[in-house]
Subunit: 690 residues, 2 copies
């Protein structure tokens, strides 16, 4: 290697030395690479490949016998076949502990929501709406069997299916707060859960079905990259806003306000009005005391878990402890007689079929379809983000498209078994990870434990106060407000921060849909803005090198007399071609004004550094032609030439420039490999001219 | 200058020589420029400036006394004040000739459409719809004074206003084919011109009003860059499709088919069915003979004008000659008795006020608003494109935003004086340019000549056959089908061609709206695709230089053992951060598999060339952190380090990297000014390690 390098350096020195001694003879200048024209089909194939198959999914199949290919194919669809073979008792121990830990995190909610069974139809559904609306990052089964023979159990079926098909080892599946909030709001816009409870539920199943279809379709057609368009910043803002909205809804249970005296709007102003309007008549001090003391307990355990990573199990079992303690307390003191609302009798049917409830025709199909697409995309964004985070922590690959197929299948089957949209939950996945889960088996353990508890132990929880559930939800969603991320975003990129705050304020002050819309619009606008207004920079020579860099970044860089070097920092497309052309001309005008003021010679060579110009289209080439013509016009006026010179156009750009005949227009000898080459050739000419 | 250069080259040689002789001591490596942190306000200001004020409109105002500023401000709004002062008789001669030439190009249409005045309300409006629908790239006044006391005269007011406010010297103002087609179709979707003639017209004025408001607003708020989002390719396809649609509509007049026996759909299939369905009963051979012979005449003159640029006036006056000849012919032969439809008696009221006809409230306001936005944007695209084309030919600047204000004002005033959306017409502007126009005065000349002709000479044109007008329109719109542009687009960029053909086929086979939608969607999709899937390339060293370039483009470039150099060709944003990270890892995996097969040493340094990475956001930095962690994991498995090294990050990227603490994570000494520096440092280290 050392030899090789010596030789290289020798050559460099020689070439430059030759420049020095033999001037004004032309020095060694490497020719610009005009690659052979690519075949259309090949070009097309490579574009398709990078767009849809950038992860090269068929790579392991290469050069394998046929039988092996079948096995690999099955393993690709059901990763459990792959990791299942090396599954052992040691891994199971990890999964068992993790499964039990996350189950203890969920049971409190399960119990709470199961309680709805005993209510009158109307109140029951109002409550039912409440659950969809306020459900937290944990899963739960719910039945309103007395009134309408259905129940939703998104905790059992989806995690089981995911365990077979998913490729993430750490993700924990269940309904999540934000998706629940979204579905709740969107479905409520169509049907009032108090008036049309049946329709309401059917639309929820329909939306779930289409959310699954959307996810699976995106995966199958490898359109997973679409979810990348929701920017991180917008998601942070949206999640934070949703967390606050959910927490505000919980004030109802927290303060003991009956549902019918509480607003159904979700914006902070309506909720606050509703809360303080009810202060006189409906706040229940016993409820408030119980709720706030346990909320304090939960937050303290959370803080402990955060400070000492080894005590992660403390916040994980704190909700279960709270439920047990508060139930015992109410049972002893008979606080339910003093207006503390309790869970009451529970009767739960597990996962009755709901296929017949999905709308497959008519207007409601359309509505469900629309809601499903939105909910499915948001759910995907969350699941894929979580999957990627934990995968990068343990350094394994999560196949985004495969994940989508798994999540989609899980929701499609879920919609047929009384579940609604489930996805990966961040807080549960984090607990899962820290409890030492090894594979998706922890999901199976969790769902079985939850199921058994709900089935056999629910009578024990009759006296659980509703307020404790609100406390648990509030303490859980507070974690979704990610200050640190917001601060980091502010530090790094102000426009990102605007997107973040826009989404946040939209959710808090208006509604979930508006917040989401703001997030998407700002995310897109950001991309488009960048594409319309590329950066340009004037380059100078870094002393003691042959490197040319932005004068703004390197103030020590020096200009070359008679030569203006401008770099364009973007692909040149129709959206920015005019701006780019005019901006380059502005650099030239400003520089010439400057030179004129100093009585220095005017610019004779305009070198455009093309390294960052990764692509160009018809409009872009047109703009360069116009630039060339503008320079010619200036020449006539000034009676002196200004040449347009290009440095280092990339392969694609060069192909297109040659296809359009641009090099013949400006002269092929005006295109160079590097700025240094271009400057050298140009400045040797200015020497003669001046 | 020669001295300066000598010194530079000396330094270069010295620095490289020092590398050569003192190795393995560290050679001269220029430090990466960490610029002082920019103030938020300054950063924000520069972003706003480049986005909205990229043309630096306040530049001339700098360092001027106050009175001068007022004058400059007035001149900015009314450019006529600026160029008017230096206006002289010589310029007027040019403008007079140009104005007369374009007037002769327009009068035929004016006469033709004025004819509608004498018809029964129903037929009249059907015809009226026809005019909006089929009007060509020339302006025209129209009155249906008998039936409804209104008339549309977009030829008089708009050009006059433009002459005072516009900054282009060559553009000729009037209604254009595509915008007319668009307004006709969109308004017809709301009101049937046969059944609700009054409402129909009112909606047209409302749409015109809001088109003007849209244009002026975009100009005032300097959002002109929005029109850049309609790609050149899409516009070419859309125009071609619209031209064919308009020509097809003209078959009605060309073949002598009465309006009520002709379809109102615009797609090629409906029109063809309608044409051949009417073949038996309604085709009129006398009409066809007249129409086709004059069409041949027009096309021949067009060809002559194209072959010999000096004879540009031949095609320009050909329509007028056709009208005169055919009128004379019909008058002599009494062909109108044989079913050749003629113009008949004309009664024209000029520009009655129509302010009271604009809907300022209710549902129709909304409809007009929507149509106005679409029509206004399309009209702008056309006018600005034309303005820029001619400005670059004569090398003066057209201020896009100022143009928009001028066009907007002109349409707002127009909507109040019975005009509909006018804009710059390409063919008329070309004739104007070639006839030697000097300023916008040619527009004034033209509008006055047209007005006088319509007012005083119309009785002479009573016997003009309608068919001749169809021939004129067909020969005119054929020029809008730009084969050459389409072929060039195919050569340069296949995806652009898809956008072009999508828009074209959408218009021809479905409708104008669908075509427009396809054009916009593909244009956007193209931008987004590019942003999601940036190109990456592996770099090698070009022999005899210290330059590193894409191995695919320069096959002679050589890899450096133990070092993998990857270039990312785009800003790294949320939309591509994951792809970028995974693509870099794929380069690494592929290269390592390759090396392993050849029993060569594995990669120890992954150098990411950041020159084309013009910007990065939170997600992008996150992706780099994940990349770094992935490399660390690999290290643990392979028991050998793989370092992540960055070369030449730009100012913005460096700022953000430092803000996020990334350099501390990977080590500040892992960021270099050039790939050559990075390789030098790295490969000297591999030498020790191996």
């Amino acid at each position: 290697m050392s030899d090789q390098e010596d030789k290289d350096l020798d050559m460099e020195t020689k070439s430059l030395t030759s420049v020095d001694t033999q001037r004004p003879n032309v020095p060694y200048i490497h020719k610009i690479g005009v690659p052979p024209k690519q075949k259309i089909f090949k070009e097309f194939k490579s574009t398709v490949k990078e767009t849809f198959f950038s992860d090269d999914p068929l790579r392991p199949f290469k050069d394998q016998p046929k039988s092996r290919k079948v096995v690999l194919g099955l393993e690709a669809i059901f990763p459990i076949l792959e990791w299942g073979r090396s599954y052992n008792i040691k891994k199971f121990r990890g999964d068992l502990i993790a499964g039990l830990t996350i189950a203890s995190l969920c049971i409190p909610q399960d119990i709470g929501y199961s309680k709805l069974a005993n209510l009158s139809p109307q109140y029951g559904l109002c409550k039912h709406f409440f659950f969809i609306f306020s459900t937290d990052i944990h899963h739960f089964p719910i039945s309103i069997s007395d009134s309408f023979d259905f129940c939703i159990d998104s905790s059992f079926v989806p995690p089981l299916i995911y365990a077979f098909m998913g490729s993430s080892r750490d993700i924990a599946i269940g309904p999540v707060a934000v998706v629940s909030l979204l579905i709740g709001t969107l479905v409520r816009n169509e049907f009032d859960p108090d008036k049309d409870p049946g329709e309401y539920l059917r639309l929820v199943f329909t939306a779930t079905f289409f959310a699954g279809i959307t996810q699976a379709t995106l995966g199958v057609f490898r359109l997973g990259f679409l979810i990348d368009f929701l920017s991180h910043a917008a998601v942070v803002g949206f999640m934070g806003g949703a967390a606050i909205t959910i927490a505000l809804q919980q004030l109802k249970g927290f303060l003991g306000i009956p549902g019918k005296h509480f607003t159904k709007d979700t914006d902070i102003i309506s909720v606050m009005k509703s809360v303080f309007g009810a202060a006189h008549h409906w706040w229940n001090w016993q409820t408030i005391v119980i709720a706030s003391s346990f909320l304090t307990f939960l937050l303290v355990t959370k803080y402990i878990g955060k400070k000492n990573k080894k005590l992660f199990w403390v916040p994980a079992i704190a909700p279960l402890i709270s439920v047990i303690l508060s139930t015992f307390f109410v049972y002893i003191t008979h606080a339910n007689k003093d207006g503390v609302a309790i869970v009451g009798h529970i009767d739960h049917r597990i996962n009755p079929p709901s296929l017949d409830k999905i709308y497959f025709s008519g207007e409601n199909l359309q509505k469900g379809f629309k809601i499903g697409i939105v909910a499915g995309m948001i759910a995907l964004t969350e699941a894929v983000a979580i999957g990627r985070t934990f995968a990068s922590m343990k350094d394994y690959q999560v196949d985004g498209n495969k994940e989508m197929v798994a999540l989609g299948t899980m929701n499609i089957v879920g919609s047929m078994t009384s579940c609604y949209v489930a996805t990966g939950s961040f807080s549960r996945s984090a607990v899962n990870y820290m409890a030492g889960c090894q594979t998706a088996v922890s999901n199976i353990v969790m769902s079985i434990v939850v199921l058994l508890t709900v089935k056999f132990l629910t009578p024990l929880f009759e006296y659980t106060p509703n307020a404790i559930l609100s406390s648990i939800i509030i303490s859980a969603v507070i974690g979704l407000i990610d200050y640190d991320a917001a601060i980091l975003i502010w530090k790094i990129d102000k426009l990102d921060f605007v997107a973040c705050m826009g989404a946040f304020l939209g959710v808090v002050f208006k509604s979930v849909e508006i917040g989401l819309l703001i997030a998407v619009v700002i995310s897109f606008a950001k991309i488009l803005l960048q594409v319309t207004r590329p950066r340009t920079a004037m380059l100078g020579k870094i002393p003691m090198t042959s490197v040319y860099r932005n004068i703004g970044q390197y103030p020590e860089a020096t200009k070359v007399p008679g030569v203006l070097i401008v770099r364009v920092d973007s692909a040149i497309y129709f959206s920015n071609s005019n701006y780019t052309k005019e901006r380059i001309l502005r650099w030239l005008t400003e520089e010439e004004d400057d030179l004129k003021a100093k009585y220095e010679p005017r610019i004779q060579f305009l070198i455009v550094e093309m390294s960052p110009v990764t692509d160009i289209d018809t409009s872009g080439i047109h703009a360069f032609e116009q630039l060339y013509r503008s320079l010619q016009k200036r020449d006539v006026e000034a009676k002196q030439h200004t040449f347009l010179v290009l440095a280092n156009p990339g392969q694609v750009v060069l192909d297109k420039l040659y296809a359009s005949g641009f090099p013949e227009l400006v002269g092929e000898n005006k295109i160079f490999l590097t700025v240094a080459d271009a400057v050298h050739t140009c400045s040797s000419k200015t020497t003669y001219d001046v």
